[in-house]
Subunit: 112 residues, 2 copies
Amino acid sequence: MSEKNMRYCLLLDFYGEVLSDNQREMMDLYYNEDFSLSEIADEIGITRQGVRDAVRRAEESLDSLEEKLGMIARFDRLRVQRAEIAVLLSDDSRPRDAVIREALQKLEMLEI
Amino acid sequence: MSEKNMRYCLLLDFYGEVLSDNQREMMDLYYNEDFSLSEIADEIGITRQGVRDAVRRAEESLDSLEEKLGMIARFDRLRVQRAEIAVLLSDDSRPRDAVIREALQKLEMLEI
């Protein structure tokens, strides 16, 4: 799957509920089920061009939501911070008490 | 501040960018700056009833977004999970290695 497609799968997962049922169904078929535009057109009973336009509009809505709300960026940062704490806790070359103290500090600073 | 008001401050913080500039300004004055409806009406130059309607519509938009996207609920869960890890790490009655192992597992399960 291309990076662009993976991004829309993620955007759909976060913001899909904001789309209309119809848009969400087309986006789900297109991005999660890997249907072609023509296959979706057959499935839904509209033209291929109609599907293409609807998918494009839905993509714009999702991009606009992420631009405004930045939830994916926020969760990405959280995952990085979590990984840093995991690395710290897994480092058994340092005194356990110091590791725990530092992990607590980093946990406290987790941008939730 | 009432619990309802605190909730709208939080909703504004998460989803405020989705409102129009005008709506966001009124909501900011009302919820963050504690202006009255009449004071906002004077500030913006519309009727008190106009402000009341705009605030009500904005509240509905924010509630609807949280109902669909659930970001506040999601971050609330994350904070609870973080607190559990902090309690675990702070428990110095248990062997350090066991504490670290368990913290790593809980960190891995953090619903990010």
